[in-house]
Amino acid sequence: MLNVADIRKDFPIMGQKVHGHPLVYLDNAATTQKPRQVIDAIVRYYETSNANVHRGVHTLAERATEQYEEAREKVTRFINAPSRRNVIFTRNSSESLNVVAYSWARKFLKPGDEIVVTPMEHHSNLVPWQQVALHTGAKLRFIEMLPNGLLRTDNLGEIITEKTRLVAVTQASNVLGTINPVTGIVRLAHQVGAKVVVDGAQSVPHIPVDVQALDLDWLAFSGHKMLGPTGIGVLYGREDLLDSMDPFLFGGEMISRVYLECAEWSELPHKFEAGTPNIAGAIGLGAAIDYLNQLGMKNVSDHEQRLVRYAIERLEAIDGFRLYGPKEPRGGLVAFNLGDVHPHDVATVLDTYGVAIRAGHHCAQPLANWLDVTATNRASFYIYNDEADVDTLASALVKTKEFFSHVA
Protein backbone atom coordinates (compact mmCIF):
# COMPACT_ATOMS: atom_id res chain seq x y z
CA MET A 1 0.00 0.00 0.00
CA LEU A 2 1.19 3.47 -0.78
CA ASN A 3 1.42 6.06 1.95
CA VAL A 4 -0.07 8.97 0.02
CA ALA A 5 0.46 11.49 2.82
CA ASP A 6 4.20 10.73 2.83
CA ILE A 7 4.40 10.69 -0.94
CA ARG A 8 2.77 14.10 -1.22
CA LYS A 9 5.49 15.60 0.91
CA ASP A 10 7.95 14.75 -1.84
CA PHE A 11 6.06 16.85 -4.39
CA PRO A 12 6.75 20.57 -3.96
CA ILE A 13 3.90 21.58 -6.29
CA MET A 14 1.33 19.89 -4.06
CA GLY A 15 1.43 22.63 -1.47
CA GLN A 16 -0.05 25.02 -3.96
CA LYS A 17 -3.44 26.77 -3.92
CA VAL A 18 -5.39 27.31 -7.12
CA HIS A 19 -8.12 29.96 -7.00
CA GLY A 20 -7.89 29.76 -3.24
CA HIS A 21 -8.34 25.98 -3.07
CA PRO A 22 -5.66 23.35 -2.50
CA LEU A 23 -4.52 21.93 -5.82
CA VAL A 24 -6.10 18.58 -6.68
CA TYR A 25 -4.11 17.44 -9.68
CA LEU A 26 -6.02 14.89 -11.75
CA ASP A 27 -4.38 15.40 -15.14
CA ASN A 28 -1.74 12.73 -14.76
CA ALA A 29 -2.39 11.05 -18.09
CA ALA A 30 -1.25 14.31 -19.71
CA THR A 31 1.82 14.65 -17.51
CA THR A 32 2.72 13.85 -13.93
CA GLN A 33 4.19 16.07 -11.24
CA LYS A 34 7.84 15.68 -10.20
CA PRO A 35 9.10 14.66 -6.79
CA ARG A 36 11.86 16.59 -5.06
CA GLN A 37 14.17 13.63 -5.75
CA VAL A 38 13.84 14.11 -9.51
CA ILE A 39 14.21 17.88 -9.38
CA ASP A 40 17.24 17.48 -7.11
CA ALA A 41 18.86 15.00 -9.48
CA ILE A 42 18.62 17.55 -12.28
CA VAL A 43 19.97 20.35 -10.10
CA ARG A 44 22.78 18.16 -8.81
CA TYR A 45 23.77 17.23 -12.33
CA TYR A 46 23.98 20.86 -13.43
CA GLU A 47 25.72 21.94 -10.26
CA THR A 48 28.35 19.21 -10.09
CA SER A 49 28.72 17.15 -13.27
CA ASN A 50 27.50 19.01 -16.34
CA ALA A 51 29.49 18.24 -19.49
CA ASN A 52 28.93 16.70 -22.86
CA VAL A 53 28.88 12.91 -22.89
CA HIS A 54 30.86 10.17 -24.63
CA ARG A 55 33.52 12.40 -26.08
CA GLY A 56 35.43 14.00 -23.28
CA VAL A 57 38.52 12.88 -21.41
CA HIS A 58 38.15 15.32 -18.53
CA THR A 59 36.59 14.55 -15.17
CA LEU A 60 33.25 16.30 -15.74
CA ALA A 61 32.79 14.58 -19.08
CA GLU A 62 33.48 11.22 -17.46
CA ARG A 63 31.05 11.96 -14.68
CA ALA A 64 28.32 13.09 -17.08
CA THR A 65 28.82 10.04 -19.30
CA GLU A 66 28.72 7.71 -16.34
CA GLN A 67 25.51 9.23 -14.98
CA TYR A 68 23.86 9.28 -18.38
CA GLU A 69 24.69 5.64 -19.02
CA GLU A 70 23.68 4.72 -15.49
CA ALA A 71 20.25 6.18 -16.28
CA ARG A 72 20.12 3.91 -19.30
CA GLU A 73 20.92 0.94 -17.06
CA LYS A 74 18.04 1.91 -14.78
CA VAL A 75 15.63 1.99 -17.71
CA THR A 76 17.02 -1.32 -18.93
CA ARG A 77 16.30 -2.99 -15.61
CA PHE A 78 12.94 -1.22 -15.16
CA ILE A 79 11.46 -2.80 -18.29
CA ASN A 80 13.68 -5.89 -18.05
CA ALA A 81 15.37 -5.27 -21.39
CA PRO A 82 18.12 -7.79 -22.21
CA SER A 83 20.78 -5.10 -22.45
CA ARG A 84 21.43 -1.38 -22.55
CA ARG A 85 21.88 -1.76 -26.29
CA ASN A 86 18.11 -2.14 -26.52
CA VAL A 87 17.37 1.19 -24.85
CA ILE A 88 17.35 4.36 -26.92
CA PHE A 89 16.71 7.76 -25.41
CA THR A 90 14.30 9.93 -27.40
CA ARG A 91 12.29 13.07 -26.61
CA ASN A 92 8.98 11.35 -25.90
CA SER A 93 6.71 8.47 -26.91
CA SER A 94 5.78 10.28 -30.09
CA GLU A 95 9.36 10.42 -31.28
CA SER A 96 9.96 6.80 -30.28
CA LEU A 97 7.05 5.68 -32.44
CA ASN A 98 8.24 7.83 -35.33
CA VAL A 99 11.68 6.22 -35.16
CA VAL A 100 10.05 2.84 -35.79
CA ALA A 101 7.94 4.35 -38.56
CA TYR A 102 10.85 6.00 -40.36
CA SER A 103 13.69 3.58 -39.74
CA TRP A 104 11.87 0.29 -39.89
CA ALA A 105 8.43 0.56 -41.48
CA ARG A 106 9.32 2.98 -44.28
CA LYS A 107 12.34 0.82 -45.06
CA PHE A 108 10.70 -2.59 -45.12
CA LEU A 109 6.99 -2.19 -45.94
CA LYS A 110 5.61 -2.39 -49.48
CA PRO A 111 2.27 -2.33 -51.28
CA GLY A 112 0.09 -5.20 -50.20
CA ASP A 113 1.48 -5.22 -46.68
CA GLU A 114 -0.87 -4.39 -43.86
CA ILE A 115 -0.43 -2.43 -40.66
CA VAL A 116 -2.94 -3.27 -37.95
CA VAL A 117 -3.90 -0.57 -35.46
CA THR A 118 -6.84 0.08 -33.17
CA PRO A 119 -9.36 2.91 -33.22
CA MET A 120 -8.46 3.87 -29.65
CA GLU A 121 -4.88 4.91 -30.46
CA HIS A 122 -3.45 8.23 -29.42
CA HIS A 123 -2.61 10.30 -32.52
CA SER A 124 1.05 9.51 -31.88
CA ASN A 125 0.42 5.83 -32.52
CA LEU A 126 -1.87 6.40 -35.49
CA VAL A 127 -0.68 9.29 -37.64
CA PRO A 128 2.85 7.88 -38.11
CA TRP A 129 1.29 4.69 -39.52
CA GLN A 130 -1.06 6.65 -41.77
CA GLN A 131 2.05 8.28 -43.17
CA VAL A 132 3.86 4.96 -43.54
CA ALA A 133 0.84 3.68 -45.45
CA LEU A 134 0.88 6.76 -47.66
CA HIS A 135 4.58 6.43 -48.42
CA THR A 136 4.91 2.66 -48.81
CA GLY A 137 1.55 1.69 -50.23
CA ALA A 138 0.85 -0.52 -47.23
CA LYS A 139 -2.72 -0.56 -45.94
CA LEU A 140 -4.07 0.27 -42.49
CA ARG A 141 -6.45 -2.19 -40.89
CA PHE A 142 -8.30 -1.67 -37.66
CA ILE A 143 -9.04 -4.08 -34.86
CA GLU A 144 -12.71 -3.64 -33.93
CA MET A 145 -13.95 -2.32 -30.64
CA LEU A 146 -16.80 -3.63 -28.55
CA PRO A 147 -19.42 -1.14 -27.33
CA ASN A 148 -17.86 -1.20 -23.84
CA GLY A 149 -14.50 -0.02 -25.19
CA LEU A 150 -12.69 -3.35 -25.13
CA LEU A 151 -11.00 -4.64 -28.26
CA ARG A 152 -12.94 -7.34 -30.04
CA THR A 153 -10.76 -10.43 -29.96
CA ASP A 154 -12.93 -13.20 -31.41
CA ASN A 155 -12.17 -12.14 -35.00
CA LEU A 156 -8.56 -11.03 -34.48
CA GLY A 157 -7.41 -13.83 -36.75
CA GLU A 158 -9.26 -12.18 -39.64
CA ILE A 159 -7.50 -8.89 -39.07
CA ILE A 160 -4.02 -10.05 -38.18
CA THR A 161 -3.21 -12.23 -41.18
CA GLU A 162 -0.34 -13.30 -43.38
CA LYS A 163 -0.47 -9.85 -44.93
CA THR A 164 0.17 -8.14 -41.62
CA ARG A 165 3.70 -6.84 -41.21
CA LEU A 166 3.18 -4.64 -38.19
CA VAL A 167 0.71 -4.32 -35.33
CA ALA A 168 0.70 -0.98 -33.51
CA VAL A 169 -1.29 -1.07 -30.33
CA THR A 170 -1.46 0.82 -27.09
CA GLN A 171 -1.12 -1.20 -23.92
CA ALA A 172 -3.45 1.13 -22.03
CA SER A 173 -5.88 3.65 -23.50
CA ASN A 174 -5.44 7.26 -22.43
CA VAL A 175 -9.21 7.81 -22.64
CA LEU A 176 -11.11 4.62 -22.01
CA GLY A 177 -8.69 3.21 -19.49
CA THR A 178 -8.86 -0.04 -21.42
CA ILE A 179 -5.96 -2.42 -20.79
CA ASN A 180 -5.41 -4.26 -24.03
CA PRO A 181 -4.53 -7.97 -24.28
CA VAL A 182 -1.03 -7.38 -25.56
CA THR A 183 0.16 -10.92 -24.87
CA GLY A 184 -2.47 -12.46 -27.12
CA ILE A 185 -1.94 -9.89 -29.84
CA VAL A 186 1.82 -10.44 -29.80
CA ARG A 187 1.38 -14.22 -30.02
CA LEU A 188 -0.97 -13.92 -32.98
CA ALA A 189 1.22 -11.35 -34.72
CA HIS A 190 4.37 -13.39 -34.28
CA GLN A 191 2.59 -16.47 -35.61
CA VAL A 192 2.08 -14.69 -38.92
CA GLY A 193 5.56 -13.15 -38.85
CA ALA A 194 4.39 -9.63 -38.02
CA LYS A 195 6.16 -7.30 -35.61
CA VAL A 196 4.46 -5.52 -32.73
CA VAL A 197 5.13 -1.99 -31.56
CA VAL A 198 3.48 -1.19 -28.25
CA ASP A 199 2.63 2.31 -27.09
CA GLY A 200 3.48 2.15 -23.42
CA ALA A 201 2.90 5.85 -22.67
CA GLN A 202 -0.01 4.97 -20.37
CA SER A 203 1.19 1.58 -19.15
CA VAL A 204 4.86 1.83 -18.21
CA PRO A 205 4.15 4.57 -15.62
CA HIS A 206 1.34 2.59 -14.03
CA ILE A 207 1.88 -1.16 -14.15
CA PRO A 208 4.91 -3.48 -14.17
CA VAL A 209 5.99 -3.96 -17.79
CA ASP A 210 8.47 -6.67 -18.78
CA VAL A 211 9.45 -6.46 -22.44
CA GLN A 212 10.86 -9.97 -22.47
CA ALA A 213 7.89 -11.59 -20.75
CA LEU A 214 5.57 -9.77 -23.17
CA ASP A 215 7.90 -10.63 -26.07
CA LEU A 216 7.61 -7.11 -27.48
CA ASP A 217 9.41 -5.98 -30.59
CA TRP A 218 9.34 -2.29 -29.70
CA LEU A 219 8.00 -0.34 -26.75
CA ALA A 220 7.62 3.46 -26.57
CA PHE A 221 7.14 5.55 -23.45
CA SER A 222 7.63 9.06 -22.05
CA GLY A 223 9.55 10.15 -18.96
CA HIS A 224 7.25 13.06 -18.17
CA LYS A 225 4.29 10.74 -17.59
CA MET A 226 6.17 8.77 -14.92
CA LEU A 227 7.53 11.48 -12.59
CA GLY A 228 10.42 12.26 -14.93
CA PRO A 229 11.37 15.49 -16.67
CA THR A 230 9.97 16.73 -19.96
CA GLY A 231 12.01 16.10 -23.08
CA ILE A 232 13.04 12.52 -22.41
CA GLY A 233 11.43 9.37 -23.74
CA VAL A 234 12.46 5.83 -24.49
CA LEU A 235 12.34 3.46 -27.40
CA TYR A 236 12.99 -0.13 -26.50
CA GLY A 237 13.71 -2.36 -29.47
CA ARG A 238 14.76 -5.95 -30.03
CA GLU A 239 18.42 -5.97 -30.96
CA ASP A 240 18.09 -7.71 -34.30
CA LEU A 241 15.40 -5.24 -35.31
CA LEU A 242 17.41 -2.23 -34.21
CA ASP A 243 20.36 -3.65 -36.13
CA SER A 244 18.27 -4.02 -39.27
CA MET A 245 17.01 -0.44 -39.08
CA ASP A 246 18.72 2.52 -40.69
CA PRO A 247 19.66 5.32 -38.33
CA PHE A 248 16.98 7.94 -37.98
CA LEU A 249 18.73 11.22 -37.24
CA PHE A 250 22.22 11.82 -38.58
CA GLY A 251 24.99 13.82 -36.96
CA GLY A 252 27.38 13.77 -34.06
CA GLU A 253 27.53 10.80 -31.64
CA MET A 254 25.75 8.38 -33.94
CA ILE A 255 28.66 7.91 -36.30
CA SER A 256 31.78 5.84 -36.08
CA ARG A 257 33.70 7.18 -39.07
CA VAL A 258 32.87 10.03 -41.38
CA TYR A 259 34.42 10.80 -44.72
CA LEU A 260 33.45 13.65 -47.01
CA GLU A 261 31.01 11.53 -48.97
CA CYS A 262 29.90 8.83 -46.58
CA ALA A 263 29.84 7.63 -43.00
CA GLU A 264 29.67 4.52 -40.83
CA TRP A 265 27.33 4.19 -37.90
CA SER A 266 28.03 3.69 -34.23
CA GLU A 267 26.97 0.60 -32.37
CA LEU A 268 23.67 0.36 -30.51
CA PRO A 269 22.21 2.28 -28.85
CA HIS A 270 24.25 5.29 -30.04
CA LYS A 271 23.33 4.72 -33.67
CA PHE A 272 19.94 6.21 -32.85
CA GLU A 273 21.10 9.11 -30.68
CA ALA A 274 22.34 11.92 -32.89
CA GLY A 275 23.72 15.06 -31.33
CA THR A 276 23.99 15.99 -27.71
CA PRO A 277 21.27 14.10 -25.86
CA ASN A 278 19.02 15.37 -23.09
CA ILE A 279 21.56 14.35 -20.47
CA ALA A 280 19.84 16.01 -17.51
CA GLY A 281 16.54 14.58 -18.75
CA ALA A 282 17.89 11.03 -18.77
CA ILE A 283 19.37 11.45 -15.30
CA GLY A 284 16.05 12.85 -14.07
CA LEU A 285 14.24 9.87 -15.55
CA GLY A 286 16.69 7.60 -13.75
CA ALA A 287 15.77 9.31 -10.47
CA ALA A 288 12.07 8.90 -11.30
CA ILE A 289 12.61 5.18 -11.84
CA ASP A 290 14.43 4.94 -8.50
CA TYR A 291 11.42 6.59 -6.90
CA LEU A 292 8.92 4.25 -8.55
CA ASN A 293 11.03 1.21 -7.73
CA GLN A 294 11.08 2.20 -4.12
CA LEU A 295 7.29 2.30 -4.10
CA GLY A 296 7.09 -0.88 -6.16
CA MET A 297 5.21 -0.91 -9.43
CA LYS A 298 2.81 -3.54 -8.16
CA ASN A 299 1.85 -1.21 -5.31
CA VAL A 300 1.48 1.69 -7.72
CA SER A 301 -0.86 -0.34 -9.85
CA ASP A 302 -2.87 -1.65 -6.89
CA HIS A 303 -3.24 1.87 -5.54
CA GLU A 304 -4.59 3.17 -8.82
CA GLN A 305 -6.93 0.23 -9.22
CA ARG A 306 -8.44 0.84 -5.83
CA LEU A 307 -8.72 4.55 -6.47
CA VAL A 308 -10.36 4.20 -9.85
CA ARG A 309 -12.90 1.71 -8.48
CA TYR A 310 -13.73 4.13 -5.72
CA ALA A 311 -13.98 6.98 -8.23
CA ILE A 312 -16.37 5.13 -10.51
CA GLU A 313 -18.58 4.18 -7.60
CA ARG A 314 -18.59 7.73 -6.27
CA LEU A 315 -19.07 9.50 -9.60
CA GLU A 316 -21.73 7.21 -10.97
CA ALA A 317 -23.93 8.39 -8.13
CA ILE A 318 -23.97 11.84 -9.73
CA ASP A 319 -27.01 12.54 -11.84
CA GLY A 320 -26.10 12.80 -15.52
CA PHE A 321 -22.61 11.28 -15.09
CA ARG A 322 -21.71 9.13 -18.04
CA LEU A 323 -18.58 6.98 -17.98
CA TYR A 324 -16.76 5.91 -21.14
CA GLY A 325 -14.87 2.66 -21.34
CA PRO A 326 -15.03 -0.68 -19.58
CA LYS A 327 -15.30 -1.05 -15.83
CA GLU A 328 -12.67 -3.77 -15.57
CA PRO A 329 -9.85 -4.13 -16.36
CA ARG A 330 -9.02 -0.45 -16.49
CA GLY A 331 -6.18 1.94 -15.87
CA GLY A 332 -6.35 4.66 -13.27
CA LEU A 333 -8.40 7.21 -15.14
CA VAL A 334 -12.03 8.02 -15.91
CA ALA A 335 -13.32 9.73 -19.03
CA PHE A 336 -16.85 11.01 -18.69
CA ASN A 337 -19.48 13.53 -19.57
CA LEU A 338 -21.77 15.37 -17.23
CA GLY A 339 -25.20 15.71 -18.77
CA ASP A 340 -25.10 18.30 -21.52
CA VAL A 341 -22.51 20.47 -19.86
CA HIS A 342 -19.66 20.95 -22.32
CA PRO A 343 -16.39 19.43 -21.05
CA HIS A 344 -14.68 22.79 -21.41
CA ASP A 345 -17.17 24.28 -19.04
CA VAL A 346 -16.79 21.39 -16.62
CA ALA A 347 -13.02 21.78 -16.60
CA THR A 348 -13.24 25.54 -16.11
CA VAL A 349 -15.66 25.24 -13.24
CA LEU A 350 -13.59 22.48 -11.61
CA ASP A 351 -10.50 24.67 -11.95
CA THR A 352 -12.19 27.35 -9.86
CA TYR A 353 -12.35 24.68 -7.14
CA GLY A 354 -8.66 23.84 -7.57
CA VAL A 355 -9.38 20.57 -9.39
CA ALA A 356 -7.27 20.05 -12.52
CA ILE A 357 -8.79 17.70 -15.08
CA ARG A 358 -8.55 17.59 -18.84
CA ALA A 359 -11.33 18.30 -21.35
CA GLY A 360 -11.14 17.59 -25.05
CA HIS A 361 -10.44 14.76 -27.43
CA HIS A 362 -7.26 13.77 -25.57
CA CYS A 363 -5.37 13.43 -28.85
CA ALA A 364 -7.60 10.56 -29.87
CA GLN A 365 -10.07 12.14 -32.29
CA PRO A 366 -10.99 8.91 -34.06
CA LEU A 367 -11.94 7.48 -30.69
CA ALA A 368 -14.05 10.55 -29.94
CA ASN A 369 -15.81 10.02 -33.25
CA TRP A 370 -16.34 6.38 -32.34
CA LEU A 371 -17.79 7.46 -28.99
CA ASP A 372 -19.85 10.00 -30.92
CA VAL A 373 -18.74 12.92 -28.76
CA THR A 374 -16.68 15.96 -29.62
CA ALA A 375 -15.05 15.98 -26.25
CA THR A 376 -14.97 14.28 -22.87
CA ASN A 377 -13.72 15.10 -19.41
CA ARG A 378 -10.88 13.03 -18.05
CA ALA A 379 -9.70 12.65 -14.47
CA SER A 380 -6.51 10.60 -14.22
CA PHE A 381 -4.83 9.45 -11.03
CA TYR A 382 -1.34 8.78 -9.83
CA ILE A 383 0.56 7.89 -6.72
CA TYR A 384 -0.14 11.15 -4.87
CA ASN A 385 -3.91 11.02 -5.33
CA ASP A 386 -6.26 9.52 -2.79
CA GLU A 387 -9.91 9.09 -1.92
CA ALA A 388 -10.13 12.64 -0.63
CA ASP A 389 -9.18 13.90 -4.11
CA VAL A 390 -11.97 11.83 -5.59
CA ASP A 391 -14.37 13.28 -3.03
CA THR A 392 -13.32 16.83 -3.95
CA LEU A 393 -13.79 15.98 -7.61
CA ALA A 394 -17.23 14.52 -6.94
CA SER A 395 -18.50 17.47 -4.95
CA ALA A 396 -17.10 19.94 -7.49
CA LEU A 397 -18.92 18.03 -10.21
CA VAL A 398 -22.17 18.23 -8.26
CA LYS A 399 -21.71 21.99 -7.99
CA THR A 400 -20.96 22.22 -11.71
CA LYS A 401 -24.14 20.34 -12.44
CA GLU A 402 -26.13 22.72 -10.28
CA PHE A 403 -24.52 25.78 -11.77
CA PHE A 404 -25.47 24.73 -15.26
CA SER A 405 -28.78 23.16 -14.33
CA HIS A 406 -30.83 26.12 -15.47
CA VAL A 407 -29.16 26.32 -18.87
CA ALA A 408 -27.65 23.07 -20.10
Binding site: H344, D345, G360, H361, A368, T374, A375, H406, V407
Partner: protein, 157 residues
Protein backbone atom coordinates in the same frame (compact mmCIF):
# COMPACT_ATOMS: atom_id res chain seq x y z
CA UNK B 1 -11.34 34.15 -10.03
CA UNK B 2 -14.84 33.04 -9.10
CA UNK B 3 -17.34 31.25 -11.25
CA UNK B 4 -19.43 34.38 -11.51
CA UNK B 5 -16.51 36.38 -12.89
CA UNK B 6 -16.36 34.03 -15.84
CA UNK B 7 -19.93 32.98 -16.37
CA UNK B 8 -21.57 36.41 -16.22
CA UNK B 9 -25.33 36.51 -16.40
CA UNK B 10 -25.30 37.80 -19.96
CA UNK B 11 -23.20 34.83 -21.03
CA UNK B 12 -25.46 32.32 -19.37
CA UNK B 13 -28.46 34.02 -20.90
CA UNK B 14 -27.08 33.90 -24.43
CA UNK B 15 -26.02 30.32 -23.86
CA UNK B 16 -29.48 29.30 -22.66
CA UNK B 17 -31.36 31.26 -25.35
CA UNK B 18 -28.97 31.74 -28.29
CA UNK B 19 -29.78 34.54 -30.75
CA UNK B 20 -28.91 34.26 -34.42
CA UNK B 21 -28.64 30.48 -34.40
CA UNK B 22 -29.09 28.89 -37.82
CA UNK B 23 -28.13 29.26 -41.44
CA UNK B 24 -29.00 31.66 -44.25
CA UNK B 25 -30.48 30.77 -47.62
CA UNK B 26 -27.92 32.53 -49.78
CA UNK B 27 -25.11 33.82 -47.60
CA UNK B 28 -22.33 35.81 -49.24
CA UNK B 29 -20.10 35.21 -46.29
CA UNK B 30 -19.50 31.71 -44.95
CA UNK B 31 -16.66 30.84 -42.66
CA UNK B 32 -16.15 27.67 -40.75
CA UNK B 33 -13.84 27.80 -37.74
CA UNK B 34 -12.52 24.94 -35.68
CA UNK B 35 -10.77 24.86 -32.35
CA UNK B 36 -8.56 21.80 -32.33
CA UNK B 37 -8.07 21.77 -28.57
CA UNK B 38 -11.68 20.96 -27.78
CA UNK B 39 -13.21 20.05 -31.12
CA UNK B 40 -15.55 23.03 -31.18
CA UNK B 41 -16.84 24.02 -34.59
CA UNK B 42 -18.62 27.21 -35.53
CA UNK B 43 -19.87 28.27 -38.91
CA UNK B 44 -20.65 31.93 -39.36
CA UNK B 45 -22.78 33.09 -42.26
CA UNK B 46 -23.71 36.60 -43.23
CA UNK B 47 -25.37 38.61 -45.94
CA UNK B 48 -24.21 42.04 -46.97
CA UNK B 49 -26.48 44.54 -48.72
CA UNK B 50 -25.62 48.13 -49.55
CA UNK B 51 -22.44 47.82 -47.52
CA UNK B 52 -24.33 46.74 -44.43
CA UNK B 53 -24.45 43.38 -42.65
CA UNK B 54 -28.05 42.62 -43.31
CA UNK B 55 -28.15 39.35 -41.41
CA UNK B 56 -25.64 37.12 -39.60
CA UNK B 57 -26.07 33.63 -38.20
CA UNK B 58 -24.02 30.94 -36.52
CA UNK B 59 -24.27 27.18 -36.31
CA UNK B 60 -22.13 24.37 -34.90
CA UNK B 61 -21.42 23.24 -31.40
CA UNK B 62 -19.19 24.15 -28.53
CA UNK B 63 -18.99 25.19 -24.94
CA UNK B 64 -21.08 27.85 -23.25
CA UNK B 65 -18.50 30.53 -23.89
CA UNK B 66 -18.18 29.88 -27.60
CA UNK B 67 -21.93 29.58 -28.06
CA UNK B 68 -22.76 32.66 -26.02
CA UNK B 69 -20.05 34.66 -27.69
CA UNK B 70 -21.30 33.69 -31.15
CA UNK B 71 -24.81 34.60 -30.15
CA UNK B 72 -23.68 37.99 -28.83
CA UNK B 73 -21.74 38.57 -31.99
CA UNK B 74 -24.81 38.14 -34.19
CA UNK B 75 -26.64 40.73 -32.11
CA UNK B 76 -23.72 43.13 -32.16
CA UNK B 77 -23.12 42.86 -35.89
CA UNK B 78 -26.56 42.83 -37.38
CA UNK B 79 -27.25 46.05 -39.27
CA UNK B 80 -23.72 47.40 -39.01
CA UNK B 81 -21.94 48.86 -42.01
CA UNK B 82 -18.77 47.03 -42.97
CA UNK B 83 -16.49 49.72 -41.50
CA UNK B 84 -18.56 49.71 -38.31
CA UNK B 85 -18.41 45.95 -38.14
CA UNK B 86 -14.66 45.96 -38.56
CA UNK B 87 -14.27 48.60 -35.89
CA UNK B 88 -16.37 46.53 -33.49
CA UNK B 89 -14.36 43.42 -34.30
CA UNK B 90 -11.11 45.24 -33.61
CA UNK B 91 -12.50 46.66 -30.39
CA UNK B 92 -13.66 43.22 -29.25
CA UNK B 93 -10.38 41.50 -30.07
CA UNK B 94 -8.52 44.32 -28.33
CA UNK B 95 -10.61 43.80 -25.21
CA UNK B 96 -10.00 40.07 -25.30
CA UNK B 97 -6.28 40.61 -25.75
CA UNK B 98 -6.40 42.55 -22.51
CA UNK B 99 -5.56 45.92 -24.04
CA UNK B 100 -6.43 48.75 -21.68
CA UNK B 101 -9.21 51.12 -22.72
CA UNK B 102 -12.93 51.66 -22.46
CA UNK B 103 -15.13 49.02 -23.98
CA UNK B 104 -18.47 50.58 -23.03
CA UNK B 105 -19.60 50.78 -26.65
CA UNK B 106 -19.51 46.97 -26.82
CA UNK B 107 -22.50 46.83 -24.49
CA UNK B 108 -23.36 43.40 -23.14
CA UNK B 109 -20.43 41.90 -25.07
CA UNK B 110 -18.30 43.29 -22.24
CA UNK B 111 -19.50 40.31 -20.22
CA UNK B 112 -16.85 38.28 -22.08
CA UNK B 113 -14.03 40.41 -20.73
CA UNK B 114 -13.55 38.10 -17.76
CA UNK B 115 -12.69 35.26 -20.12
CA UNK B 116 -9.69 37.20 -21.38
CA UNK B 117 -7.88 36.04 -18.28
CA UNK B 118 -8.32 32.37 -19.27
CA UNK B 119 -6.01 31.89 -22.24
CA UNK B 120 -7.47 28.57 -23.33
CA UNK B 121 -11.08 29.69 -23.06
CA UNK B 122 -10.15 32.87 -24.90
CA UNK B 123 -10.07 30.82 -28.05
CA UNK B 124 -13.65 29.73 -27.38
CA UNK B 125 -14.72 33.32 -26.89
CA UNK B 126 -13.12 34.58 -30.08
CA UNK B 127 -13.89 31.66 -32.37
CA UNK B 128 -17.02 33.13 -33.98
CA UNK B 129 -15.61 36.63 -34.16
CA UNK B 130 -12.48 35.40 -35.77
CA UNK B 131 -14.56 33.45 -38.28
CA UNK B 132 -16.51 36.58 -39.17
CA UNK B 133 -13.31 38.58 -39.47
CA UNK B 134 -11.82 36.18 -42.00
CA UNK B 135 -15.18 35.85 -43.77
CA UNK B 136 -15.41 39.63 -44.11
CA UNK B 137 -11.94 40.00 -45.50
CA UNK B 138 -12.53 37.15 -47.94
CA UNK B 139 -15.74 38.91 -49.01
CA UNK B 140 -13.95 42.21 -49.52
CA UNK B 141 -11.21 40.62 -51.57
CA UNK B 142 -13.84 38.92 -53.72
CA UNK B 143 -12.98 35.37 -52.58
CA UNK B 144 -15.46 32.53 -52.74
CA UNK B 145 -17.64 32.37 -49.65
CA UNK B 146 -16.58 28.79 -48.93
CA UNK B 147 -13.08 29.09 -47.64
CA UNK B 148 -11.12 26.31 -46.08
CA UNK B 149 -11.78 25.22 -42.57
CA UNK B 150 -9.87 27.60 -40.40
CA UNK B 151 -7.97 26.35 -37.40
CA UNK B 152 -7.49 28.62 -34.47
CA UNK B 153 -4.25 27.96 -32.74
CA UNK B 154 -3.14 29.07 -29.34
CA UNK B 155 -1.85 32.62 -29.35
CA UNK B 156 -2.86 33.45 -32.89
CA UNK B 157 -5.75 35.50 -31.62
Amino acid sequence: MSLEDIYKDAIMDHYARPRGRGKLEHPVIVYHAHNPTCGDEIEVQANVEDGRIQDVRFSGHGCSISQASASMMTVAMKGKTLPEAKATLAKFLGMMRGEPGSYKELGEVQALQGVSRLPVRLKCATLAWHALEVGLSQHESGQSPRGPVHVLESKDL
